[in-house]
Amino acid sequence: MPESGLIADLSYRGYDGPLLPPTHRWWVIARMGVRQAFRKRAYWVVTALSAWYYLVMMAVLFFFERAAQSAPGARGEAGFEAFIGRIVWKDQFLHGFGFAQLLYLIAALMLGAGAIANDNRSKALLVILSKPCDKRDYLAGKWMGVFLPLLTMMLIPPLVFFVYGALSYRDYGFLDNPWFFPKFLIVLVLGAAVHTSLVIGISSLFDQGRLAGASYAGIYFLTNFFTQLMVFAWLDSQVFLWGGARGGAGQSPFAEYVDRLYYVSIDGLLIGLCKAILGTDGSPQFGMPSPIRPVPAPPLLATLLVALALCAAGVAVAWSRIRAVEVVR
């Protein structure tokens, strides 16, 4: 709009408009991360895939109930009753969480591996830090930019299952002790926080997203491998060499170590945390009867401390690696 006279001066003018306070800065960076996440098709695919246990359970329950109702006589009903009786509802969430661990890893990699690594490579850090935006805002923004999409993804399937269960299986004791769900949400928050902190910490060490992602995946699978060994030892103590012959839970020489070391992996830690917070040792998956006793839950305080320590470690590594200044002699 011409201000004086008939021809407007469209050349450069200074900015003297409103400015938002500095506490808002991290959100600008976080929002960029969230937007980039939601735009990826792969993100939604992984979210859908992570729901697989819940979907299976919902299908099993639905069709079993339907089959029981249409089957002749009380036999069908009794079968269904027996089945439902074996199901501990809160454990279904534990299983859902447990079976989705690999997908959570994939999501964390997808969202976070490049988070800081890409900025390192493209030197975007210099632009960001040359604005009135300091390390704190940057790190908080990046962290939230990974955490929020990851949490959203972890939240949607259990939420859907919860609503389904609350509506359909109230008579079967679904809402007997509803406090398990808020506790479960805390598990999700902690789980997302651990993944986010670790992946952000590792991302800040590299300047290629691929390398950072490969490193995190490597650590994950290495510890996972260790845990699988433990699973084998546990099964072994229950069933194979030592168990059957001597009756009941066997006296495998590994037994006393197994339940302590079972949770020494990233997914193990998270599953352990889930068990500890929900207050359950777990029950057979899919409501199938099984002679194998589940691994008991680890102590709550210890697990919580380890999880928080990992979060702190990841964030500390990222903090120390974010620099605006490179020294070149």
């Binding site: 469209l10 050349s11 450069y12 003018r13 200074g14 900015y15 003297d16 408009g17 409103p18 400015l19 938002l20 306070p21 500095p22 808002h24 800065r25 600008v28 960076i29 960029m32 980039q36 890409n118 900025d119 493209s122 030197k123 975007a124 850090l125 210099l126 632009v127 960001i128 830090l129 040359s130 604005k131 009135p132 935006c133 300091d134 605006a324 200044v325 020294v327 002699r329």
Partner: protein, 303 residues
């Protein structure tokens, strides 16, 4: 004064990058010169409040560099030397993001991004992905993101890097128009001295962590006694001899003569043309001799 620094000492471990450096940077357009490794980049980073000095201090735009780094960066725009962009974004998104990082609300940032990109000469290309840009366009985006929040001081680090001759001219014109037309203070750090001469009115020379020369370019280039440089069409020893006979000191290098002669500018010029006419020499160039900026730089660095 845009910035005044006193006894600034900055160390990286045991290496002293800035050694008790003091400088007064005036308003307008200032060139920051210095050999590689002299401490120019360190100085810029210290002025932005990234580095805490081990000793000394200073003010930039009236704000303390030790304690008010964030406020300084609110009012300063940096155009870095390296390429820096966020992959996956186009120019508008990138510049708007930069604006938001400076605290602008998002719609204002977007509008301003368009304005600034227009000013920097990026037309339709602003909707394309930044990775597809040519060097010239990338330089313009870097300038745009530095200008988006309306800073009072612009720091430009090698702004013509990689630009072809036309791009260089356009960039220099842009810088000149922002500094002389719009009242934004500019500090240009560059190795290309003619570019600096074209755009800046003052220079500060940094060498081995100290400021070894600073002042207005016009003043630094003055040579005592106002000698005159003459360029001839062909070498003419008679011309040289005739001038010497009149009491002038003449240094001849090929077709260029440096002449020192008593008298006012008009008198000297009249004498020269008269002598040329008499000896049959043809004068093709006549100017008050000045030190080249390169000469000033070399002396400052050798000191």
């Amino acid at each position: 004064m845009v910035a005044s620094l006193q006894n600034l000492t900055v160390r990286y471990g045991s290496f002293t990058a800035l050694d008790s450096l003091s400088a007064e940077i005036p308003e307008g357009c200032v060139g920051l010169l210095g050999p590689n490794g002299a401490g120019k980049t360190t100085l810029i980073k210290t002025m932005l409040g990234f580095l805490t000095p081990a000793g000394g201090g200073g003010l930039v735009l009236g704000l303390d560099i030790r304690t008010q780094g964030r406020e300084i960066r609110q009012k300063v725009g940096l155009m870095p030397e390296q390429d820096c962009h966020i992959p996956g974004l186009n120019a508008v998104q990138f510049v708007a993001f930069a604006g938001e990082l400076a605290g602008m609300p998002s719609e204002l940032a977007l509008r301003r991004a368009h304005e600034v990109l227009e000013y920097c000469g990026l037309g339709e290309a602003r909707y394309r992905n930044v990775e597809t840009y040519s060097t010239g366009m990338k330089q313009r985006i870097k300038l745009a993101q530095a200008l988006v929040h309306g800073p009072s001081l612009l720091l430009l680090d090698e702004p013509t890097n990689g630009l072809d001759p036309r791009g260089r001219e356009e960039m220099l014109d842009l810088i000149r128009s922002v500094s002389h037309g719009k009242g934004v203070n500019v500090i240009v750090s560059s190795h290309l001295l003619p570019d600096v001469e074209r755009v800046c009115d003052h220079v500060v020379v940094v060498s081995r962590g100290k400021v070894t020369e600073q002042g207005a370019i016009a003043r630094l280039k003055v040579i005592e006694g106002r000698p005159i440089d003459i360029e001839l069409k062909e070498e003419s020893p008679e011309f040289v001899r005739a001038l010497r006979d009149l009491g002038a000191t003449v240094e001849a290098t090929g077709l260029v003569l440096r002449v020192r002669l008593e008298g006012s500018a008009e008198q000297v010029s009249a004498t020269i043309f008269r002598t040329a006419r008499q000896t049959g020499a043809q004068v093709r160039g006549l100017a008050v001799a000045q030190r080249s900026l390169e000469g000033v730089f070399e002396e400052a660095v050798r000191a």
